[in-house]
C-alpha cells in the first residue's frame, strides 16, 4: 500500500486529544443536565392549562426538531451577536446543545407523561395535592422511567452531534482531531483515533445512562 500508517505521531498530541475528550464530556454533561431539565419543564408546559404557553413550547419543539444542529449553532454563535447577545464558544456550544436536547426531550418526556394512567393523577388530587405537586411526585418519576431508554439514545445522539461544535472553535474532540491534522497532516490516523474515542464515549455514555436509569427509576415498577 502506498500509504504508511503511523499512529506514533499521535503521541505528541495526546494532551490535545485528552483535552478534546474532556471538553466533549463536559459539553455533554452540561447539555444533558440542562437539556433534560428544559425537557421536563417543556413537557410540563405542554400539559399546562395555558394555551399560549402550550403553543409557544410546541413551536419551539417543532422549530428545533426541524432544523439542523449546525445551523442552530451558527445562528447562536454568529447570528445572535447582531442582537447584542454575545457569548464564548463553549457557552454557545452548551446553549445549542441544551436548546436542541431540550426540544427532543420535551417531546420524549411528554410521551411518557401521556402514558400515565389517569387514576394516578386522580389519586393525587383526592389527597389534596396541587397540580405541580402531582407532576413532581407522581407523574414524573414513572414517566421518566418509561422513556429513559429513548432519552438515553437521544443523549448519545446529541453527544455525537456535538462534534460540529468544532466549527465555532469549541475545543472538543473533533476540534482536537482537526487541530492535530492541521499540524501533522495525518488525517487517517487522527480521524481514526478520534472516531474510536467517540465510539468508546458512546458505549460508555449508554452504559452509564443505563445504570443511572436503574438507580433512579427502577423502583417498584420493574419488580412487577
Amino acid at each position: 500500500m502506498a500509504y504508511r500508517f503511523d499512529f506514533t505521531s499521535l503521541w505528541d498530541y495526546a494532551p490535545v486529544l485528552v483535552h478534546g475528550v474532556a471538553t466533549t464530556v463536559g459539553l455533554t454533561v452540561a447539555g444533558t443536565v440542562l437539556g433534560v431539565g428544559i425537557g421536563i419543564a417543556g413537557a410540563a408546559a405542554r400539559n399546562s392549562a395555558s394555551r399560549p404557553l402550550r403553543l409557544a413550547v410546541g413551536a419551539y419543539v417543532e422549530l428545533i426538531r426541524n432544523t439542523p444542529f449546525l445551523v442552530q449553532l451558527f445562528f447562536i454563535f454568529f447570528g445572535l451577536p447582531s442582537l447584542g447577545i454575545r457569548m464564548p464558544e463553549w457557552a454557545a456550544a452548551v446553549l445549542a446543545m441544551v436548546v436542541n436536547l431540550g426540544a427532543y426531550s420535551t417531546e420524549i418526556i411528554r410521551a411518557g407523561i401521556d402514558a400515565t394512567p389517569k387514576g394516578q393523577v386522580e389519586a393525587g388530587a383526592s389527597l389534596g395535592m396541587t397540580g405541580p405537586q402531582i407532576f413532581r411526585y407522581i407523574i414524573l418519576g414513572p414517566a421518566m422511567g418509561k422513556i429513559w431508554p429513548a432519552l438515553s439514545s437521544q443523549i448519545v445522539i446529541v453527544m455525537l452531534g456535538s462534534s460540529v461544535c468544532s466549527q465555532i472553535a469549541a475545543e472538543e474532540l473533533s476540534f482536537a482531531a482537526n487541530f492535530i491534522q492541521s499540524r501533522n497532516f495525518r488525517p487517517f490516523e487522527v480521524y481514526f483515533a478520534a472516531t474510536a474515542l467517540y465510539l468508546a464515549l458512546a458505549v460508555l455514555t449508554r452504559w452509564i445512562l443505563a445504570r443511572l436509569g436503574d438507580r433512579l427509576f427502577l423502583k417498584g415498577a420493574a419488580r412487577a
Binding site: 445551523v71 455525537l160 472516531t195 458512546a202
Partner: protein
C-alpha cells in the same frame, strides 16, 4: 465591491437547497437499500451475520456523522479509494442512514407475531421467502411513519456535509455570511429553509402514525 441584495441571498440559498434535496434523496434511497441489506443480515437466522450487522449498526450509530465524513473524505483516499465531496457526502450519509433505518425496521420486523414466522416455515418457505412474502409486507405497514420521520434526520444530516466543502444550504449560508456580514439574517433564512423542507415530513409522519393507530 459586490453587494448582495436580500433577493440575492435568498436565491442563492434556494439554489443551494437543490443540492440539499438531491443529496437527501440519494442518501435516503441508497441508505434505504443498504439498510434493507443490513436488516436482512440482522434478522437472518445466521448468528455471524447477525453479529456483523449489529456491529455495523453500533459503529455507525456510535460515531459522529462528521467523523464518518472526514474518514471517507480524507482518509479513504490514502488507502487508494478516491472520493470527491459528492461521493464522500453520499457515502457517509448512506452509511449513517442505513444503520438507523436498519434498526428502526428491525423493530417493525420484530413486531410481526412469531406465529407468522412459524406458519410460513411450516409451509416450507425459506428465510428469504418468509421475509419477502410474509414478514416484510406486514412490517412495511408499521414502518412507514417512523421511516418518514427519520427522513427529517437525513435532511438535517446533510448540513454536516458543508464542513467538507459540499456546497448545500449551510455551506452557501456561511459563504454568503462572509460576503454580506449579515449572519443573523442569513442563518435565520437557512434555518427557515430547513424548516420548510423538514416540517412537512414531520407532519406527514405524525399523520401516518395517527392513521396507523386508528387502523389497528
Amino acid at each position: 465591491m459586490l453587494e448582495f441584495s436580500f433577493w440575492d441571498i435568498l436565491s442563492n440559498l434556494l439554489l443551494a437547497a437543490r443540492w440539499t434535496v438531491l443529496l437527501s434523496v440519494i442518501a435516503f434511497v441508497a441508505g434505504g437499500l443498504a439498510g434493507l441489506l443490513v436488516l436482512m443480515a440482522r434478522v437472518a437466522p445466521v448468528p455471524p451475520l447477525q453479529r456483523l450487522a449489529k456491529l455495523y449498526i453500533e459503529l455507525f450509530q456510535g460515531t459522529p456523522l462528521l467523523m464518518q465524513l472526514f474518514i471517507v473524505f480524507f482518509a479513504l483516499p490514502l488507502v487508494g479509494i478516491e472520493t470527491s465531496p459528492w461521493t464522500a457526502a453520499a457515502l457517509a450519509l448512506t452509511l449513517f442512514t442505513s444503520a438507523y433505518l436498519a434498526e428502526i425496521w428491525r423493530g417493525c420486523v420484530e413486531a410481526v407475531p412469531k406465529g407468522q414466522w412459524e406458519a410460513s416455515a411450516s409451509l416450507a418457505m425459506g428465510f428469504s421467502e418468509q421475509m419477502r412474502w410474509v414478514v416484510l409486507p406486514q412490517a412495511l405497514r408499521i414502518a412507514v411513519p417512523p421511516t418518514v420521520g427519520f427522513s427529517v434526520q437525513v435532511v438535517k444530516g446533510t448540513a454536516v456535509t458543508s464542513i467538507i466543502g459540499f456546497v448545500e444550504i449551510t455551506k452557501a449560508g456561511t459563504m454568503i455570511t462572509n460576503a454580506t456580514f449579515q449572519p443573523f439574517l442569513v442563518y435565520g433564512l437557512v434555518g427557515l429553509l430547513y424548516f420548510a423542507l423538514c416540517y412537512p415530513l414531520s407532519l406527514s409522519a405524525k399523520a401516518l402514525e395517527r392513521k396507523l393507530n386508528v387502523a389497528r
